[in-house]
Subunit: 129 residues, 4 copies
């Protein structure tokens, strides 16, 4: 499944000098994917806190060709949302990961149930692609 995709052009200063993308850069690229995916959803802009991140470095990612950050799944709980992601380069998965986000109340004082409009947008993202 594929809920969302965005393209990132690796930058030379993100490498270790030998053309490999540094491990420390990958979590930032995942955040780009998450941020753009959540912004793309229907409904008013929500606030999400990142509760946890899990990343598997499956293969080296290189400088020189674009990468695709793909949101491959979204599981809403009550106020939390688990997003599954992959980073691909030249058709090959180089990173797999997931992240748990917490949906904040409008006044940002605490967590709050994910609104139905967002649940529907998540579901239709899965159907439309």
């Amino acid at each position: 499944m594929n809920l969302f995709e965005t393209t990132i052009k690796p930058r030379f200063y993100e490498t270790d000098g030998l053309g490999h993308i540094s491990n420390t850069v990958i979590p930032a690229w995942f955040e780009i994917g998450r941020t753009e995916f959540l912004s793309s959803l229907a409904g008013e802009k929500r606030t999400w806190l990142t509760a946890s991140v899990q990343i598997d470095y499956v293969a080296e990612t290189f400088y020189g060709t674009d990468v695709t950050v793909r949101i491959t799944g979204a599981k809403p709980g009550n106020s939390s949302l688990t997003l599954y992601c992959e980073i691909l380069q030249e058709g090959r998965v180089t990173v797999r990961g997931s992240s748990v986000l917490v949906h904040m109340s409008d006044d940002r004082s605490g967590s709050a149930r994910i609104p139905d409009a967002v649940r529907e947008a998540l579901a239709s993202a899965g159907n439309s692609t």
Copy 2:
């Protein structure tokens, strides 16, 4: 338990502009802790690949006071090593995480059993602190 500690001074450009350290910065701080810990071990310099990283954002980390990155555990397998880490600020844990590293052979062509000298150094790091 506490195998190793290093101090990091947050930098203003690592914040979101409101004084909170950005989520994308935390994995890089963990890498600093891991790198310094592994460099501190007895024995010749080894090569380690990062296979995976897991991070729980327990509480906000702020600009303005130093943080401590602490290696709280190290479990060697055959060629893999799991390191457990915490980030503390003013005595409070703000981040907990773990990382799986793979020990590479001397010619870096593949993984290799972690040498006994490194196992002993890991064990004595745990005892001496």
Copy 3:
């Protein structure tokens, strides 16, 4: 004049949280432009050291739309090369800068005269665009 252009998509974590690109990010974007420009030149790959950088922040650069990094001039000396750059967003110049690079000898032991092939490539870059 316009010797070279590349496009950069600003990333959310490069902002100050309010949508403005941080000042510390701009010099890195200039380096992307310089690196890609020099790689695009005819002739074997050369090594260049950055001797100095000068940047004028003309206007705010924002998150949300792509920026163009443009090399607007190139003045070769004997072994040094001055590159002039602009960053544009939505047709508006937001940054102007220049950088002095030093061409290194093949064994990287010191500076060396810029080869004629590179001088010709610099000149034709200016003519062809």
Copy 4:
């Protein structure tokens, strides 16, 4: 002269993989020095915009030992302030630079004359060290 000093511990991921600090990192370190210096001045907290930055890479900066960022001079104009900086490592200057900042009015709508309290603080910073 030496108006202010702060210490920075280079981080492994700030290198090119060979132990040299990347050029793109240096402007960020200068900003740390400027930010801490301006925060250290007497008087209420002011807002400054960075108008320009100039950096000379005098020598390689390395991973492995702390660096000192030193503010070596401060020339206030009407609403602008030029700060001169050096980065030192093991007693050797590796970077020299300057930056022009613009003092903003309290409502941040435009530039405003630097208050006398700040001018006096700048002058006494020069005298006391």
